[in-house]
């Protein structure tokens, strides 16, 4: 939590042609380009898998893939496209253009931005390597339903690695959400209120808000699943009242429905920009479009059970969620009409991006209408799990991604300074559109066929064959994008600053924009963009028309290797963890003899990764780094909240959702089992209140000690500060020791009911207890690491006496950990 990014180093960025530049850059535009290239790689990866599926479906029955391989391919295709392609693809543009649109120099936390990218990069690498680890990759579909997702049915090291790869990506999105939210709420230039955001930035704002909540729920779900795999808890194999399956369904779809909009919203934002620019009009009903987007973002969290109409939910629940589902379709109608009416009285230039914009509307209308079918329960009863769903969501999500492809054609001239061949662009568009509809439209007619199978009746063979042809045409169009861009980089004409005569702020600077974006301090106060105290050193709007491949001359200390190193070591650690499970299972089965023989290699790898992560975090903490200064001009609704503090609170909010999901999972599982029977049947006598009470005392006191540290700073007492922090550390140590003793005892009890002890996998009550309090314990440990850093800095560097913010923000975190315990204590020790 040390955002001490304020030292003023003067340093040159390495040249764009050097590898070092790309490993160490934290500039939002560089990071955007990294996202773009990496996500296109995954588009090709996921696309090749899709073509494998299409080839397999040329004939009914297993032809080129076995059942197991086919499942891996469909699962990986879905996971890659959703997680490693669409969102990062959208965030390539968000990274590049949000700061430019709002008049900021960079994101609020540039190093964290680089960290987001590298976590994504290595998450993808771990996912990709899962195919080559023992047993192949995850094969339970991108929805990862339980209990198929549990080690009993999916024991392969590769499947765990794939899950951990996705988890790295989810951590990356959490970091991104915190960063973008802080940026959008506190870095807008003077005069730009939140309602003045250009539609793309507005869509990103809502996207990251949804991401913060939705991905926190997914993170919790993935942690539970990974813990079933790695430490042997039994969440998803618990079958009492179907609770394991239902737990996954709820957590997953609570994430899953917002996820649809998380991938869709950036596309709608791009659509808005493209429609504005190429009609020459402002958005029709701009206010209503923005409100409709906002409504959908909120509503997206109360519709998730429409994915569960076939699971036997009770009548009232189905009715309720059918109603919320209809309700969420309505703002979309409004939005779509707003986009369509923007064309009225326009002068529409049918450029490649505009063609993509119109196509997106068409595809989205088809996707939306076919989605209403699924919201009507009696129809859902015969459509869910089949090709209607497949066709529908490809129209919605990939149809949305069409706007993002349009975004390449729209923004490429700005990002590269080069204009592509416009005829090539239109040919590419035609190929894409024809391929797309040939691929997905016939699938509606195959609605009686289950998805994820390769056996079908001859009557629908024709549809599959057309789709396969369409698939290859679509694949060709993707290659054409790459070809057109490479061609343009080499032979393209200079694009100029504003080739489309657009009027959002990114078009006011040179193409590509200078390192620090604007040649002065942007302000919108006059009702349009103007520069306060413009710089005169020539890095402004008229410079750099020659393409900018030369060494950049701007100077700030913007480079850091630590995001790369942290991510790399997490990759190594997770890689190790994915294979370590037999190891731990043997341990808690009380049979340490096998421990040494099973997975020492994986354990060692995990250990190396862990040490590496620790070291790189330390480096991260001590490294000098200059982040853009907070603007503090308009921060609605967070006026008066300092920027780093805002970041901490937003992070804590996501942590609230993660912990809320853990606690909710415990309550749900207990409720399904029988609230009181749970205590009688599953929990040993030896599990008493006292250790929990002692730990409550210790933690409360430690919280008090942090408060005293701040009091000491106010009294200008360095000794008091260090003493209080050391006391906090000591109390936390006591907490962990006490917990360790308690766990040791519970592991090794031997009673009639629990002859083998009460271990992690003994039953669902022990699983929830160890996992939930264990995750809390991890938070304590993380806090202690930060404490060591703070104590060191306070003692040796006389830090914090002038500026107590790091201590205060650590306190926010520590008190949060305390509050969580205040609820864990009664839940797990009293009730």
């Amino acid at each position: 939590m040390a955002h001490a990014e304020s030292d003023e180093h003067e340093d040159h960025m390495p040249s764009k042609s050097s590898i070092k530049r790309w490993l160490t850059t934290t500039n939002h535009k560089d990071v955007g380009i990294l996202y773009l290239i990496t996500s296109i790689f995954y588009l090709v990866f996921g696309g090749v898998l899709a073509l494998l599926i299409r080839l397999e479906l040329l004939e009914s029955g297993s032809t080129i893939l076995s059942g197991a391989a086919y499942n891996q391919v469909v699962s990986a295709h879905g996971l890659i496209m959703l997680f490693f392609f669409i969102s990062p693809f959208a965030f390539a543009f968000a990274n590049y253009f949000v700061p430019l649109q709002i008049g900021a120099k960079d994101l609020a936390f540039p190093r964290l931005n680089a960290l987001s990218f590298w976590l994504y990069f290595f998450g993808g690498a771990l996912f990709g390597s899962s195919f080559f680890l023992g047993g192949g990759s995850f094969s339970g579909g991108w929805t990862m339903y339980a209990p198929l997702n549990s080690p009993a049915y999916m024991p392969a090291v590769g499947s765990t690695a794939a899950v951990l790869g996705v988890m790295l990506f989810v951590i990356s999105t959490t970091v991104s959400s915190v960063n973008f939210l802080t940026t959008l709420h506190s870095m807008r230039a003077e005069g730009m209120r939140i309602r003045d955001l250009p539609i793309f930035s507005w869509s990103i704002l809502l996207t990251v808000w949804m991401m913060l909540f939705a991905f926190a729920a997914l993170l919790a779900a993935l942690i539970l699943m990974a813990s079933d795999h790695i430490i042997g808890t039994t969440y998803f194999t618990t079958t009492v009242a179907g609770s394991g399956s239902f737990l996954w369904l709820h957590l997953f779809w609570f994430f899953g429905h917002p996820e649809v909009y998380i991938v869709l919203f950036p596309a709608l934002g791009v659509l808005g920009e493209i429609f504005k620019t190429f009609t020459g009009n402002r958005l029709a009903g701009r206010k209503w479009i923005m409100i409709a987007l906002g409504l959908v973002a909120v509503q997206s969290f109360i519709v998730w059970m429409h994915h569960m109409f076939l699971t036997g939910l009770n009548f009232q629940t189905k009715t309720l969620f059918m109603a919320t589902t209809i309700a969420i379709s309505l703002p979309f109608d409004l939005m779509i009409f707003g986009f369509i009416y923007t064309m009225i009285k326009g002068k529409i230039r049918l450029t490649t991006p505009m063609l993509y914009g119109i196509a997106t509307l068409v595809l989205f209308i088809i996707g939306g209408i076919t989605g209403v079918f699924l919201g009507a329960i009696p129809l859902d009863y015969n459509l869910r799990g089949g090709y209607w769903v497949v066709a529908h969501f490809h129209y919605v999500m990939f149809g949305g991604a069409a706007a993002l492809v349009g975004a390449i054609f729209y923004w490429f001239p700005k990002m590269s300074g080069k204009m592509y061949n416009r005829t090539f662009g239109k040919i590419q568009f035609a190929t894409f559109f024809v391929g797309f509809n040939l691929l997905y439209f016939p699938l509606f007619f195959a609605y009686e066929m289950p998805r994820r199978v390769f056996v079908y009746e001859t009557s629908i063979k024709m549809y599959h064959n057309i789709a396969t042809v369409g698939g290859f045409i679509l694949g060709l169009s993707v290659l054409m994008i790459v070809g057109i861009m490479v061609h343009a980089l080499k032979y393209g004409d200079d694009a100029g600053d504003n080739p489309w005569q657009a009027w959002t702020a990114e078009w006011s600077v040179s193409s590509p924009p200078p390192l620090e974006n604007f040649s002065g301090t942007p302000s919108f106060k006059s009702g349009k963009l103007s520069m306060l105290n413009p710089a005169t050193d020539g890095s402004g709007t008229e410079a750099e028309t020659d393409g900018g491949h030369a060494v950049e001359e701007e100077h700030t200390d913007h480079a850091s290797l630590t995001p790369f190193l942290i991510s790399l070591s997490m990759f190594v650690m997770f890689l190790g963890l994915s294979g370590v499970h037999q190891n731990v299972q043997a341990l808690h089965d009380g049979d340490p003899a096998t421990t040494a023989t099973i997975a020492p290699l994986y354990a060692a790898v995990a250990g190396i990764g862990g040490v590496g992560m620790l070291l790189s975090l330390v480096w991260f903490g001590f490294e000098g780094f200059s982040a853009p200064a907070p603007l503090n001009v308009n921060k609605w609704p967070f006026e008066g909240v300092e920027q780093n503090k805002l970041g901490v609170w937003i992070f804590l909010l996501s942590d609230i959702v993660v912990f809320g999901a853990f606690i909710g999972a415990s309550i749900f599982m207990r409720f399904a089992y029988g609230w009181q029977e749970w205590y009688q049947d599953l929990i040993p006598e030896a599990h008493v209140t006292m250790p929990g009470l002692i730990n409550t005392y210790l933690l409360l006191t430690s919280s008090f000690a942090v408060v005293m540290a701040l009091v000491a700073i106010e009294k200008n007492s360095k000794k008091g500060l260090v003493g209080s922090l050391v006391a906090t550390f000591a109390l936390a140590t006591g907490f962990l020791v006490n917990k360790g003793l308690e766990w040791q005892h519970l592991f090794h009890i031997s009673t009639d009911a629990f002859p083998e002890g009460w271990g992690l996998g003994t039953n669902i009550a022990s699983s929830t207890f160890y996992l939930t309090t264990g995750m809390h314990g991890l938070h304590v440990i993380l806090g202690m690491l930060i404490l060591v850093f703070l104590i060191y800095r306070a003692w040796f560097d006389d830090a914090y006496m002038e500026d107590d913010r790091p201590v205060e923000y650590f306190g926010l975190y520590w008190h949060f950990v305390d509050i969580v315990w205040l609820f864990l204590f009664p839940l797990f020790y009293i009730l």
Binding site: F213, A217, S243, F246, L247, H250, L251, F254, F301, M305, M308, L313, N314, T317, P637, F638, E639, V641, W649, L652, L653, S654, I656, V657, G660, A661, I663, G664, I667, F668, F671, A672, T689, M690, G692, L693, T696, Y697, L700, T701, S703, F704, V706, M708, L710, V711, E714, D804, L812, H815, F816, D818, I819, L822, F823, F825, P826, Y829, I830, L831
Partner: protein, 91 residues
Amino acid sequence: MSDSNWKLYTAIFGVLFVFATIQAAVEMMGFLDSAYWLAVGAIAVLSVIKAYFVAAYYQHLKFEPRSVTYLVLGGLVAVMFLTAAASFSIT
């Protein structure tokens, strides 16, 4: 953290300490056996009050713009709705 009143913080610390003890006492004195749901309610209320004190004073939410509080409450409402709706759906 403007002119902090360490006496207030100490008093709050005392309250937290006592409430935790009461919660444990409810269990040890067997109230959970005699009037289970009443005791559960009491324990839950005590936890909420404790959390309020820590958040409002130690995390000084009380002195921040209200929007930060709404932020936190937003997260809480989301997970509570998830838990409640999920539990209800399987009844």
